[in-house]
């Protein structure tokens, strides 16, 4: 009797664990490896683009013959990190546009996936905040992959050299998204200041947490 009991228990236990394993066994053996986004490296020439602005006009870098460079800022309406940086992006344009480095903001998300990032919502935000810079929609989502932007906010500083827009800095605006009062590293300002002064940019790439760019063609 004892043996039968033990056998029964053993079989039950085995059956149960087998069920669990089967339940969670992989249905495919294919492992998806992430493709590291291509995009620009420091020193690369950035291609010009033509994207629709919040005033319904198309904007290109070539529309700014007097600019010495650009603070190309991939940002959007919905992302809390982008929201945290709204004022600081406006401050950058206020400080540097007159010195030859205007902010060009580009929203890279697919509005079908994030309705708050649609053109009408962008227009509303820009007018509420009083944006002084273009806020473009990457409608075909073919500009952000060219740059290699992966998240918002994601900054690319360009410098005009012999008529070419050369990538000089890629990364975050500063080192404290949560508290502008407690920023100790101003990456973008330091880089633009160095360009203006004609000195070497000390920190050319930085990383920060951001919202992934929403694109139905790729993994989120």
């Amino acid at each position: 009797m004892k043996n039968i009991t033990l056998l029964f228990i053993a079989i039950t236990a085995l059956t149960l664990s087998a069920f669990k394993l089967v339940d969670y066994a992989p249905s495919t053996s294919k492992t998806t490896e992430d493709v590291v986004p291509q995009g620009y490296a420091i020193g690369d020439e950035a291609s010009d683009f033509s994207l629709k602005n919040i005033d319904d006009k198309m904007v290109s870098l070539s529309n700014y013959p007097d600019a010495k460079g650009f603070i190309v800022t991939f940002t959007c309406n919905h992302c809390p990190y982008a929201v945290a940086y709204e004022q600081r992006i406006m401050d950058l344009d206020a400080k540097y546009a007159s010195l030859g480095y205007p902010v060009i903001a580009i929203s890279p998300n697919d509005p079908a996936l994030v309705p708050e990032d649609g053109m009408d919502e962008m227009k509303k935000l820009a007018s509420t905040k009083g944006y002084t810079f273009p806020y473009l929609l990457d409608e075909k989502q073919d500009v952000y992959p060219l740059f290699g932007a992966t998240k918002t906010p994601h900054i690319f500083i360009l410098h005009k050299e012999n008529g070419k827009n050369i990538v000089k800095y890629i990364g975050a605006i500063d080192n404290n998204y949560a508290n502008p009062e407690d920023v100790t590293e101003r990456y973008v300002e330091d880089a633009v200041d160095a360009l203006i002064a004609g000195t070497k940019i000390e920190v050319t790439t930085t990383k920060a947490i951001g919202c992934s760019i929403k694109d139905s063609r790729k993994k989120k």
Partner: protein, 164 residues
Amino acid sequence: MKLYALIAFVFLLSSAAHRIKTPPVRASVNYDQLKEIIEKNDDKLYVVNFWATWCRPCIEELPHFLEVSSAYENQAPFQMILVSLDKAELLETDVAQMITKLNIDNDVYLLDDNKRMNYWISAVDSTWSGAIPATVFYKNGQKLHFTEGQLTKEELTTIIQKHL
């Protein structure tokens, strides 16, 4: 009849054993403290998921992460740790609410090391751009796999099976 009673008893015991667990951790840590937690020499596979309450793709993938976690946690040397990148002051509010809403009983750490992001994002993985979700797999202090972006239930299971 005795036999049924015995089987019932064994069942009760085993299911109780599955449920006896220390209460999950809810704590703010800096990167150095997190590193000590996830890079242990204990033959356990650590699945570390970086998420935030505001991150939609993160919240989308969390339910199946939790399913996979509960399937493995009592059957293998395995632990899934969730690392929130919310603001530190949201641990007791937004993060706690999401923990309740999604019925999370995994350890949840809030990585409160915002000013050193430029250091620890690359330290976690040199290919990580900083976009979330991101998931990293460790065993005995060795990183075995890193993914930036969502993982399906099948992809997650495949990676776990490969490294258990």
